[in-house]
Point group: C2
Chain length 351, copies 2
């Protein structure tokens, strides 16, 4: 299948992947302390399981994309779901650690239509909430040693989790540094999101494959595919941050532009805007922050350069590459279809 | 030896422990990337190896108390220094992660007479610097698997590192929450510092013992001793934060009081101040923050209650308990003397 010619038959999360949800949520909950320690209440709030007072609520968390990729990869190469569960839990907790900290760093006040941790408990405490999620992630990974997984694979997987976290942090550091620049190139942008977003998604798939097959060459195919998926995911995230419906995405609209983030459409527009558009962009990006009418003007320039279409074109190419990377892998036909559906979702998603 | 009757024969770090310095510093440096990635430059700056531009400088780091405790414990139970090195490096990196984040949380602008990371690179980037130190700590621990250490011990040590980090974060969360209260009891305070400071020091010694002897019952003696040492360390830290010489401690004076931290002397004074002193304390602690003359008045009340002497008395008791805990352990006489010297240093240190 080439996603290039695929109609957006679904903008929803592939329904076949719902089969992972119950086991995954149970494993995630068992990795996070359920006691009354105040720090732990904040953790459960962030994970979408409790209100700010710690009272259980109907789940309000994220898509769980990374752990599902880890689990489906493990099954795709013939492994058992439960063997990859510690790695799946770990990547989701690492991801949530990054969300809690990103919200502080980016001053975002809402996520999934709920106040972010720092707006409820203050920045200092929110830092510790994020940190605890990371420590819990590492701890959850150790459960791999209680599964029938060879010890060298357990140790490799731990190293991969830590290396991908470091890559993610390096990407986050670059992302913030880019806010101060207007000369970021598309290649610099792609390298940055490969670190910030790609590394952890790729790690999720690589670990799933390693645990499932213990075959390094198959794992490296999934690593490569994951890097493409991560970039694809981030490109679409950039587009949704500008043109998405904030009621659907659950994120405040235009906060990326207000913060002068060098998302792909902005990087592209800086390279391709001419005349009045270019002058407007350069003038506005000398401001400390962008507000109301500034944002509207920026979006107009982005649209005039075709940045949105170019973002989608590049995302489509990445979607093809993500699937192409997996062509040499021996996968069950159903698993390959699931992966195709997921890639299609990443490309056409609206949330 | 009872530290109770020991004169403060040295306020300096025991010279015999200098034998660990070179190997430890080399191992620490090899655990932190030495390349030009901007994030890594900030890491080397914080560790005291580079200026803000990344140019190497004469070392300006901390006392390396935790890793030295880990190494000396390993040797004390008959193990080899190098086998404990990955654990020693890991605890020092976890400690430094906590320092970078604490400086943000507490708004401290100086450490070791140098600007803190957040004052140079801003809070968002400093968060990532701290996070990277934690990820590097976990990664460094994996080197235990390359030493002649049994795999179950490696996995146990990893779990202990993560559990002690979680305890430390829980303590940090409580410490910040206590800023808003005036009714913190001495027991609540001791429980909090046992988490915030005790857990990691205890973990350093427990891991050193486990790696050195693989004997859980000996390790539990060191764990217990380490918890006492950690509380002792923090009590003296509290005293130095109020009555220490900031040129010697390298920390800004009175910032704890300005932030309304419930350090031991403050907790004690709230319990024991009477009359005008009590009224002054309660009046001042209704303010958002304390400044110049407020701080002077608070210190006067602390002194009138004998809080400083009481802190030292409790610290002396903890010093005795730290050594008493190790009485059943079979240690080489020189190791026991080194531990006694170190405890004495913790009790009488001025930096």
């Amino acid at each position: 299948m080439s996603t290039k010619n695929t109609p957006p038959f679904t903008a929803g999360f592939p329904t076949s992947l719902a089969r992972y949800t119950d086991a995954l949520e149970a494993a995630l909950r068992s990795a996070v302390p359920q006691d009354d320690v105040p720090l732990h209440t904040s953790l459960r709030y962030h994970m979408g399981w409790a209100d700010p007072q710690g009272v259980p609520i109907a789940a309000a968390g994220g898509k769980r994309l990374r752990p599902i990729l880890c689990l489906m990869t493990c099954e795709a190469v013939g492994g058992s779901l439960l063997d990859a569960m510690p790695a799946a839990v770990a990547v989701e907790l690492v991801h949530n650690f990054s969300l809690v900290h990103d919200d502080i760093q980016d001053r975002d006040r809402e996520r999934h239509q709920r106040p972010t941790v720092w707006t409820l408990w203050g920045e200092p405490q929110a830092m510790s909430v994020g940190n605890a999620l990371y420590a819990l992630a590492c701890k959850a990974m150790l459960n791999l040693a209680h599964r029938p997984v060879a010890i060298p694979v357990v140790l490799q997987a731990l190293a991969k989790l830590m290396n991908s976290s470091l890559a993610m942090l390096e990407g986050q550091y670059l992302d913030l540094a880019f806010e101060q620049r207007v000369d970021v190139t598309p290649q610099e942008y792609l390298d940055m999101i490969s670190l910030k977003t790609g590394a952890l998604i790729a790690c999720a798939m690589e670990m799933g494959s390693l645990v499932g097959s213990e075959d390094p060459s198959t794992a490296s195919l999934f690593l490569q595919s994951g890097l493409h998926m991560g970039q694809l995911f981030q490109l679409q995230d950039d587009v949704l941050g500008i043109w998405g419906d904030s009621a659907t995405t659950g994120k405040p609209m235009h906060s990326d532009i207000q913060r002068k983030k060098k998302t792909f459409p902005v990087v592209y527009a800086f390279q391709h805007a001419t005349g009045a558009g270019a002058i407007t962009l350069h003038r506005l990006y000398q401001k400390e922050q962008l507000h109301g009418d500034d944002v509207r003007q920026v979006v107009e320039v982005l649209e005039s350069t075709g940045a949105r279409q170019e973002a989608h074109r590049r995302a489509s190419t990445l979607a093809d590459q993500a699937l192409e990377s997996l062509r040499p892998a021996e996968l069950a036909p159903q698993s390959r279809r699931d992966l195709e559906d997921l890639v299609s979702f990443l490309l056409y998603r609206e949330r």
